[in-house]
């Protein structure tokens, strides 16, 4: 895509930073780091998420992600994935910030091991703490409007409702609530998690949301770089379709060719 805007669309802006791509990718679960790097190039992403974990002291050849990604080229968004309490998430967020790249964090507080659905009370608590500490908080949440509104009120830079559970690939299960969240919030709404393939991404963007964050759909595709390209195109297509304004749904057929001028 060209220069930031196209056909009158504004670039995605979060916490004063602009992105020409509305697609954010995770860095987990790729078959190889080479695959991941090629996927990011194919998708032309500007922001990717990373996790904070202990260095493996017994396998020092196990390299951190920074050996494969240049923070000058792609903006790194540290997450708090795997945290089950507000306190734990705050600790991980601080560690991520101490890496010295930015004060942004993808806040994620999980409430259930089976569904990986968010603990919204703990998420709100952690969001309040982190915003007070000057973090730019992008908060993963469920598709509940009230929680989304409260996260915005808490000062989150973006609210990120799920399409469906993390890593499920079930696609957008609740388009109505996602639309409603987008309608009611002023901050950017990024749909995070659940997208399985390009049509899911397209349908999600058609709801009018500001962007999509995904990981597994690309990383677990047979050909990750190719799926990354498909996702890039789907996000653009869905955004353009939203901006274009779709025709109404009718439960009757309407001919596309004129009736007039038919042979007698």
């Amino acid at each position: 895509m060209g220069q930031g805007t196209q056909n009158g669309d504004r670039p995605l802006e979060i916490a004063g930073r602009t992105f020409r791509s509305r697609l954010i990718l995770g860095t987990g679960k790729y078959r190889s780091n080479e695959d991941m790097v090629r996927a990011f190039a194919a998708a032309d992403v500007e922001m990717v998420t990373v996790a904070v974990r202990r260095v493996d002291l017994d396998r020092t050849k196990e390299e951190g992600i920074l050996y494969h990604l240049d923070p000058e080229q792609v903006f790194l968004l540290p997450n708090t994935a795997g945290c089950y309490t507000a306190e734990e998430a705050v600790r991980y967020a601080r560690l991520g910030r101490a890496a010295g790249i930015s004060d942004w964090v993808k806040l994620e507080v999980i409430g259930d091991q089976t569904t990986l659905l968010p603990d919204v009370a703990a998420t709100l608590e952690a969001a309040g703490t982190l915003v007070a500490e000057g973090f730019k908080v992008l908060a993963y949440t469920n598709d509940d409007l009230i929680t989304a509104l409260r996260l915005e009120d808490a000062g989150c830079a973006a609210v990120m409702p799920l399409a469906s559970p993390i890593g499920s690939g079930l696609g957008l299960v609740n388009p109505y609530f996602i639309r409603e969240i987008k309608r009611r919030l002023s901050c950017p709404v990024i749909v995070d998690a659940g997208v399985g393939t390009a049509s899911d991404a397209c349908l999600t963007m058609e709801q009018g949301v500001d962007g999509i964050l995904m990981n597994t759909a690309v990383a677990e595709a047979d050909d990750a770089p190719r799926m990354a390209l498909a996702m890039k195109l789907a996000v653009v297509a869905g955004r353009e379709a939203f901006l274009a304004g779709r025709m109404p749904r009718r439960e009757v057929a309407v001919p596309s060719s004129p009736r007039a001028g038919m042979l007698a």
Binding site: T49, T60, P78
Partner: protein, 85 residues
Amino acid sequence: MSFRGTSLEDGVEMAAQDGMAVMVNGEERRCATGVTVAGLLEELGLHPRMVVVERNREILERERYGAVEVQPGDALELVHFVGGG
């Protein structure tokens, strides 16, 4: 090198006893008394720019790695960025 009245093995053991026990990433390790955080990272083959150090639940600023000495019983967490969504 030999030690008067002791075997080499005893000497090595004594040197180890001279060190101190610290917790690094949840595991007990022995390290030399007076070693700085920077020294410990070097010993572990870790690049200071690639890790974040938490010492007794408090983040240690990178600029202080060279100045701060590891104390007996310290709990250190050495973390870095890995792939995640």
